[in-house]
């Protein structure tokens, strides 16, 4: 009897928690489906006459499609570059031997915890000097670099768990390390690398500070930087702003729903048992 009531309380708590977790997203969706007039009359109610106009006018009033494309390109390129660089370095750290190996790996660990804002001013001036400011390559480069320490750390930990015999056998067979890495190690690391790529891509997609400072040209903004401009400009049109916010979340929602179990499994796999 007591058991049942305890579990009921627990269920109630968790349901409440789930509602709190999801309500803001729901609020964005339902507001985006209202007209501004309907929102003004009843901000929290269900949309009585849902409309998709807000989503359509997003693309009219601001270059939303362009911003989305920019975010996709920046995420893709920076994550690909960081992953490639990190894979090489992690392989060398685990299977090779070089001067400063320990220092280098520890440096990566320390830099993982470094506040990105510390790099903002000097990287801004650097980008001005090399003429990349206000271009997508500027943030792409910065993101790629910022992702490296964590990626190296993550991959090193995984590579260390690979069966050593495989690598040794291949070395004795005379395979080059490039070949071993891409023919043997990487195929074994697909799931891990995919997890890393997703985690990094989400970080890039969500990043605001660098995008805000580095990209002042409207066609060169990422979605997040564009959203803040949008907010200031259309703050009195709540449904439109919510439509923009929701669209920026949508890819993540889809990704999460499509691979939710993989997501959580991939994440928690890192904790060890």
């Amino acid at each position: 009897m007591k058991r049942v009531s305890v579990s009921l309380v627990q269920q109630a708590l968790l349901i409440l928690l789930s509602l709190v977790s999801l309500y803001p997203l729901w609020f964005a969706v339902q507001t985006a489906l209202k007209t501004p007039q309907a929102y003004a009359l009843d901000p929290s109610g269900l949309p009585r006459a849902p409309t998709l106009d807000n989503f359509l006018s997003l693309f009219d009033v601001m270059p939303f499609a362009r911003w989305t494309l920019n975010s996709i390109v920046v995420s893709f390129v920076s994550v690909a570059a960081a992953t490639l660089i990190a894979v090489l370095a992690a392989y060398a750290i685990v299977f090779g031997r070089f001067l400063g190996q320990r220092v280098f790996f520890n440096l990566n660990i320390a830099l993982m915890a470094l506040p990105p804002v510390a790099l903002l001013v000097p990287l801004f001036t650097l980008m001005v000097q090399v003429g990349l400011i206000n271009t997508l390559p500027s943030v792409t480069l910065v993101y790629a670099v910022l992702l490296i320490p964590f990626s190296v750390f993550f991959l090193v930990n995984f590579f260390r768990e690979l069966p050593l015999e495989l690598i040794e056998a291949a070395t004795i067979d005379g395979a080059s390390h490039m070949r071993i890495l891409f023919r043997i190690v990487m195929p074994l690391s697909v799931a891990t690398t995919a997890t890393l790529v997703i985690v990094n891509a989400i970080w890039v997609w969500n990043e605001l500070l660098f995008a805000l400072v580095f990209l002042q040209n409207n066609s060169q903004r990422t979605l997040m930087a564009g959203l803040t401009l949008f907010q200031g400009r259309y703050s009195t049109n709540e449904p439109l702003v919510m439509a923009g916010a929701f669209l920026s979340i949508l890819p993540l929602v889809i990704l999460y729903l499509a691979s939710q179990s993989f997501f959580v499994r991939g994440m928690t796999a890192g904790i060890g048992k």
Binding site: F124, V128, I133, N217
Partner: protein
């Protein structure tokens, strides 16, 4: 090519287009003369008679002013809009002053692109709360828009001092600039830095229905401060929010500063003297005026005459209360008055000067400004093309279209006043043009505006500080600005000392 550029640098003026050359020369000269012999910034009128005499000192003048801005003159002769090829990026702001101007501007851009197929104009609407910051950021990297919009006077002059902007009068003939209104707001060293598009005043607007509901005379706006407070009390007693504004972004406070601190001043030299520390008006005196202002604002807050959510709404959001009939009065721009007139019915709203509160000589001025000012950036590759487009916006037909779309008054002599037929608009036009026009916020360096003017007002409306603390913010920020922005401070002093 290199030789040619070098020559231009040396001489400082263009030898290209015969027709407009004289203008160019005169402008160059005026700049030179003003800088060398005088630091008055009131814009002298173009006089053809003086031309020859001026030509005589031209060469010397351009040598003295030397190279930095001389290269700019190269394109000066081309305001008539020849066929250019290229892209012009235009950071534009105006919609929150006068709803509808974005639409007008887009239609202008497409029309212009049709007229000049080789020109593309990339129009980027800006937000109020990042307007200054975004451009300052871009200016640091010496890249960004070809044309930018800033508010008048200091927000426009500081980029010019910083050499991020060029004077538009270097690229536009005086025959054209003389048609623009209120250019003195952006005059510096005998040049005009930016082009106005419209004039905008900020009246008190009141809802006649709500006045009637509260038993007030719907046709008598409060003229004095006592009358205003009395009306507020009556409205509040009837459960009506007397005054609806938004100050989360700090702009209601900035407006109170612009409208009411002006009324405490005897002349603009006082604020310039205090901030520029020129000795003509002490900071202590200025503090006293500020303290009065914030005490007055605090009273409004404490008595509950402002909407309860004034601190959690941006200015634009706070404005929504009036057309939603949730507030009986507000300060807003001409453009919004007209659009609210459409929403509520023109017969249901009235406009008047803000109730008088201060006792200075300037208390009899009116808060009107050209507000949105367009200037060309120093890094714009084709300044002449940018100038040509801006000048084209002032084409009488286009100005008429602006009026038709927004109801805002074009800042152009050529706009026929007779075409204002709407009674509400006529009233607004009268307010805008009857008195000396001042928008005091424009006399603050952007950093002081951003770090003192906005937070000090927020402190009061969020009930988190006293008027004394608000004044303290001003002192601290002005001090910090003087130490941190030494070149800008020097320029400001110069400007403050020399301007009547």
């Amino acid at each position: 090519m290199h030789a040619e550029r070098g020559f231009r640098r040396l001489c400082g003026f263009a030898v290209r287009d015969g027709t407009d050359r004289l203008t160019t020369i005169t402008h160059r000269l005026r700049g030179a003369r003003m800088r060398t012999f005088s630091n008055r910034t009131t814009r002298p009128r173009f006089r053809a008679g003086g031309l020859l005499a001026l030509v005589a000192v031209l060469f010397a003048g351009s040598l003295i002013t030397a190279c930095p801005d001389s290269a700019r003159a190269q394109n000066a002769a081309t305001a008539s809009g020849q066929a250019y090829a290229g892209k012009i990026t235009y950071w534009f702001w105006g919609e929150s002053d006068i709803p509808g101007i974005d639409k007008w501007m887009s239609s202008m851009v497409s029309a212009y692109e049709k007229l000049h197929p080789k020109v593309t104009i990339n129009l980027v609407p800006q937000a109020s709360d990042t307007l200054i910051g975004a451009f300052r950021l871009a200016a640091q990297s010496r890249s960004g828009p070809d044309i930018d919009t800033q508010w008048a006077t200091l927000p426009t002059l500081t980029p010019y001092w910083d050499k991020a902007a060029v004077a538009i009068s270097d690229y536009v003939p005086a025959s054209e600039t003389s048609q623009w209104l209120e250019t003195s707001e952006n005059a510096e060293g005998g040049k005009i830095v930016a082009m106005p598009i419209y004039l905008i005043g900020v009246p008190l607007v009141w809802n006649k229905q709500l006045f009637k509901e509260a038993g007030l005379d719907p046709n008598t706006p409060p003229k004095t401060w006592d009358a205003f407070l009395a009306d507020c009390a009556v409205l509040k007693a009837h459960g009506i929010t007397p005054f609806g504004m938004g100050n989360k972004d700090g702009y209601f406070g900035a407006w109170m500063f612009a409208i009411y601190l002006t009324q405490e001043l005897n002349s603009l030299d006082e604020i310039k003297g205090a901030i520029g520390n020129t000795g003509s008006f002490s900071m202590t005196q200025f503090d006293g005026l500020l303290r009065n202002l914030y005490t007055m604002m605090q009273t409004l807050v404490q008595k509950g005459y402002l909407n309860s959510d004034v601190a959690s709404l941006d200015l634009n959001q706070g404005w929504q209360l009036f057309p939603q009939k949730k507030a009986a009065m507000a300060f807003t721009t001409d453009g919004n008055v007209l659009s609210w007139g459409k929403a509520l019915g023109e017969e249901n709203i009235g406009v008047a000067e803000p109730p008088k509160w201060g006792h200075g000589k300037l208390a009899d001025s009116y808060d009107v400004t050209q507000s949105s000012d367009e200037f060309i950036t120093s890094w714009a590759p084709n300044k002449a093309a940018a100038a040509a487009f801006l000048v084209w916006l002032h084409d009488p037909a286009n100005m008429k279209a602006l009026y038709a779309e927004t109801g805002a008054f074009p800042a152009d002599e050529r706009f026929p006043v007779a075409s204002i037929t709407d009674p509400l608009a006529q009233q607004l036009y009268q307010l805008d043009t009857a008195k000396t026009s001042i928008w005091l916020e424009n006399y603050l360096p952007p950093q002081v505006d951003n770090d003192a003017d906005l937070p000090a007002g927020q402190l009061i409306t969020s009930k988190s500080g006293s008027p004394d603390q608000a004044v303290e913010i001003w002192n601290r920020v002005i001090q910090k600005w003087r130490v941190q922005q030494i070149p800008e401070y020097r320029q400001y002093r110069k400007w403050a000392g020399g301007n009547g």
